[in-house]
């Protein structure tokens, strides 16, 4: 099944119907999507900036930030599914939405790359300078995803 057929199926599903016909499901998902973005992007950016500034406490910032970012990510996936189901068809043709998905994919891949490359080092001491590249990529990917998300409504 191709992606467009999948989107059409989701739009016609019980979730899609509920997202459009329920008075409050869509607004509540939309409101939660703002909170999730704040938690995910805020926690990630705090760590990324700590790494970019070569903070010695970056490891501590990471430990404190992971639960916050993880809660944010879960909120985003759940609320985003509702928002997407409401109008999946048109969204698959929206350039801002497609670009947002690309940056989310880059952000998630970057998390894997960071933990694969530096996951061990972060617990032992100062991070190698390569970590600043993943931090910069993370900052770019999540900021772009957030801004493009808000742009969907205008293009």
């Amino acid at each position: 099944m191709d992606i467009l057929a999948l989107a059409a199926a989701l739009e016609g599903s019980a979730l899609g119907v509920a997202a459009r016909s329920s008075v409050w499901l869509y607004p509540i998902a939309n409101i939660c999507h703002v909170l999730g973005a704040a938690l995910l992007v805020g926690a990630s950016a705090t760590f990324d900036i700590a790494v970019l500034r070569r903070e010695r406490a970056a490891g501590w910032v990471l430990r404190a930030g992971i639960p916050v970012a993880a809660v944010g990510l879960v909120i985003q996936l759940a609320s985003g599914l509702v928002l997407f189901a409401a109008e999946a068809g048109p969204l698959t043709r929206n350039p801002a939405f497609l670009a947002k998905l690309a940056f989310i994919a880059a952000g998630l891949f970057n998390i894997l790359a960071f933990h694969g490359l530096f996951g061990r080092t972060i617990r032992q001491g100062p991070l190698p300078s390569g970590a600043r590249i993943t931090a910069a990529l993370s900052l770019l990917a999540w900021t772009a995803a957030l801004l493009l998300g808000r742009t969907i409504a205008y293009v």
């Binding site: 703002v34 950016a45 409401a86």
Partner: protein, 134 residues
């Protein structure tokens, strides 16, 4: 921040000030973005200089989030009027029942500059009652 507060911050923790500034900037950006997400959008692609009113029976009503739509005839063409989110209209006393197909309505709004025969409704009058949609 007051000058006094600023000085106190600098005196006690000069080394962490840039981090705090960055944090404050992120917080401000997050709050601003969040606020924008709750505000209304999409009015930029409608021509307010060409505001007009359509009056006639509702041909078809789509009572759905994120915006309801209704179709009606206007000057020999089928027009689609984009209304407000359901929660706002219900809060203002407008329900799907009151806009059933066949009901005569009067919709004041602006034509889209992108989609032909699409109007963004500013207000709608039905049964002598006017409901603001913005």
């Amino acid at each position: 921040m007051t000058p006094t507060g600023h000085r106190r911050l600098r005196d006690t923790s000069a080394r962490t000030l840039p981090a705090r500034r960055i944090g404050a900037a992120i917080l401000a950006a997050t709050v601003l973005t969040g606020g924008a997400a709750l505000a209304h959008h999409g009015w930029g692609s409608y021509d307010t200089a060409k505001a007009f009113t359509m009056t006639g029976p509702v041909a078809h009503l789509e009572w759905a989030n994120p915006h309801a739509h209704l179709m009606m005839q206007h000057e020999g063409a089928t027009w689609e009027a984009t209304l407000a989110p359901l929660s706002r209209m219900e809060a203002r006393g407008l329900s799907a029942d009151r806009l059933k197909a066949g009901t005569t309505v009067s919709v004041y709004g602006y034509p889209s500059t992108r989609t032909p025969n699409e109007m963004r409704a500013e207000r709608i009058t039905v049964d002598g009652k006017t409901v603001e949609l913005r």
